[in-house]
């Protein structure tokens, strides 16, 4: 057994140990299993959010996109680098407060309680389950491909090994195991990614050397409009490519649930700082590595294998083993969160809501665990049968989820009178438009990225649909006001107000005292 295999096995054992460590705590209650008792601090919140967002796509799909399209692919990195900053700043505090006030344990339950609509829960659960599954299939395929290439095992066997580890620690340890393994894996990911980037840049003569070499092959690699200027002048494509990962995270149920599990609203400030620093190191690297691959591995058969080929060709030994762990870390940290979320939705939003309303804590934890196991098994079967490209599947599932839930989550905390008809319209129109846009390749005819197209339709659906529904009840509106937090005026404004009202106050006081003196004389 080589040193790389030993390092990797140790790595998997660490993940399993984390899962087992949290298994007792996870079984305590549904709150513990599904949301970790809302006890996560800033560093864990930031890094679990980040590693969940950055999937196997970062090590396979992203570099392949850069390998094929040149500097255009970096647009996805631009969005990714700011995605969690935007997410935490826009939704963080308000969603944390609102979810606790509504006593919601899942992001779909949250929408149902905010808008008092069973329809929202049904539609939301269906969209989430279908596209979370598509998303997790992409991760499973990535896991099989990476392990196959790096260990030489057959694809099917590699897939089963990778998925089994994820399912075991997720089933046993629940949400806490997921977030703590994510935290650990986020660190491994950044070490692997930045390490290979630095070594790659040294090989090609730095960023300037890389670009000079690319220009010698084809100058259009350096263009932001894509190779052969494929998207020249299509600002709708450029803006969509940036937006999908900068604001799209706010529509992913398995990512927004991180807001709900924070220890308090104070977690947001430090988590924002953590994610701002982490993202700048991590988000651009895969695309730059893809560009390095054009120079160092021009004849590679599968561009999704650029990162692993680079590691094994140019930096064999222990570093390659760390990189293998990093690739698997990216895949596993996303898969476990999606599986966890799929299990939560199936147990909480389907089983407890529609099948067994009086299910006790133990039964709920058991149903969640079985749902995760079932999702894992189905995922493996589908991934073995139909392995499409990781990039296409991730962008499709990500875009559809983003277009379905982005507008509803933002409106839930910023639009007081948004109602259930508006939310349903936004969810349905957003998802349907994204599916149609992708299936019929409307990007080619309109010059608009599917995510941007879906977002525009979803916003229109929200605004138009909202005109037909009735406003939420007074109780919900009251909670909405509370979720904004205490209305405090900063000291300088209070001072100004008191300065501004002082002449009036003085006049009133003179008037009142004169009236009193007149009364006393009488």
């Amino acid at each position: 057994m080589g040193s790389d295999a030993i390092v990797f096995i140790v790595y998997l054992l660490i993940l399993l140990s984390i899962g087992l460590y949290f298994s007792r705590k996870a079984s305590k209650s549904v709150d513990s299993y599904l949301l970790g008792d809302r006890s996560l601090g800033p560093a864990v919140t930031a890094l679990t959010m980040q590693s969940t967002s950055m999937s196997g796509f970062m090590f396979l799909g992203g570099p392949a996109e850069a390998f094929q399209r040149g500097w255009y692919a970096i647009l996805y990195g631009i969005g990714d680098a700011g995605g969690s900053i935007v997410n935490l700043s826009v939704l963080g505090k308000r969603m944390r407060r609102m979810s606790e006030l509504l006593k919601a344990l899942s992001p779909i339950e949250y929408l149902e309680k905010r808008y008092e609509s069973t329809g929202i829960r049904i539609v939301g659960a269906v969209i989430s389950i279908v596209f979370l599954f598509a998303y997790v299939f992409a991760q499973f395929i990535a896991s099989g491909k990476a392990l196959e290439a790096l260990t030489g095992l057959p694809y099917e066997l590699a897939l089963i090994i990778g998925v089994s580890v994820i399912v075991i620690y997720t089933v046993t340890g629940g949400y806490l195991a997921v977030v703590w393994t994510d935290f650990f894996q986020a660190i491994v990911m950044v070490i692997g990614m930045v390490g290979i980037l630095i070594m790659g840049l040294i090989h090609v003569g730095g960023l300037s050397g890389l670009n000079a070499s690319l220009a010698q092959i084809d100058t259009s690699y350096l263009s932001i409009w894509g190779k052969d200027l494929e998207f020249y002048g299509q600002w709708g494509v450029i803006i969509g490519a940036i937006l999908i990962y900068s604001i799209g995270y706010m529509g992913l149920p398995h990512v927004v649930v991180r807001h709900m599990s924070m220890r308090s609203t104070k977690t947001v400030k430090t988590a924002t700082l953590w994610t701002a620093i982490y993202n700048q190191a991590m988000a651009f690297s895969p695309y730059l590595i893809g560009l390095i691959g054009i120079i160092l591995l021009p004849n590679i058969a599968d561009p999704e294998m650029v990162v692993s080929e680079l590691a094994y060709t140019f930096f064999p030994g222990l570093f390659a083993a760390i990189l293998l762990s990093a690739v698997m870390a990216a895949i596993m940290s996303t898969s476990d969160s999606i599986l966890m979320q799929a299990g939560t939705i199936l147990s909480r939003d389907v089983y407890q809501r529609f099948i067994h309303k009086t299910a006790n804590q133990d039964r709920m934890v058991l149903v969640s665990r079985l749902s995760i196991l079932l999702a894992g098994i189905i995922g493996v079967i589908v991934a073995i049968k139909q392995p499409p490209s990781v990039f296409a599947l991730v962008v499709f599932a990500f875009g559809t989820l983003g277009n379905s839930f982005l507008v509803p989550y933002i409106c839930s905390v910023y639009w007081r009178n948004s109602n259930k008809v508006g939310i349903l319209s936004a969810m349905i129109s957003g998802s349907v438009s994204h599916i149609l846009w992708t299936t019929f390749d409307w990007q080619a005819s309109t010059g608009i990225h599917p995510f941007l197209g879906g977002l525009i339709v979803s916003i229109l659906g929200m605004v138009i649909g909202n005109r037909f529904g009735t406003p939420p009840s007074e109780d919900v509106l009251d909670l909405f006001e509370k979720a904004k937090g205490p209305r405090i005026l900063p000291n300088n404004i209070e001072k100004n107000i008191s300065c501004e009202i002082s002449p009036e106050a003085k006049s009133i006081s003179i008037f009142v005292s004169s009236q009193l003196s007149v009364e006393s004389k009488l």
């Binding site: 500097w71 970096i74 631009i78 680098a81 700011g82 900053i85 935490l88 700043s89 505090k93 960023l207 300037s208 670009n211 000079a212 220009a215 350096l222 263009s223 932001i224 609203t265 104070k266 947001v268 400030k269 430090t270 924002t272 700082l273 994610t275 701002a276 620093i277 993202n279 700048q280 651009f284 937090g485 205490p486 405090i488 900063p490």
Partner: protein, 50 residues
């Protein structure tokens, strides 16, 4: 710069700095809000005790 066309350079290179600045600014904005909230709740507790 870095042998990139001007257009690509200016569309890409400023972003890491923009995001870092945004993260730092949001840290201080949230810190200020947290401090004001603490003060508000402390005053509220004092009033209730009185």
């Amino acid at each position: 710069m870095f042998n990139l066309p001007t257009e690509t350079f200016w569309l890409v290179v400023p972003w890491p700095f923009i995001w870092l600045t945004a993260g730092i600014v949001m840290y201080f904005v949230n810190k200020r809000q947290d401090d004001l909230e603490d003060k508000y709740y402390a005053e509220l507790d004092e009033k209730e005790l009185k």
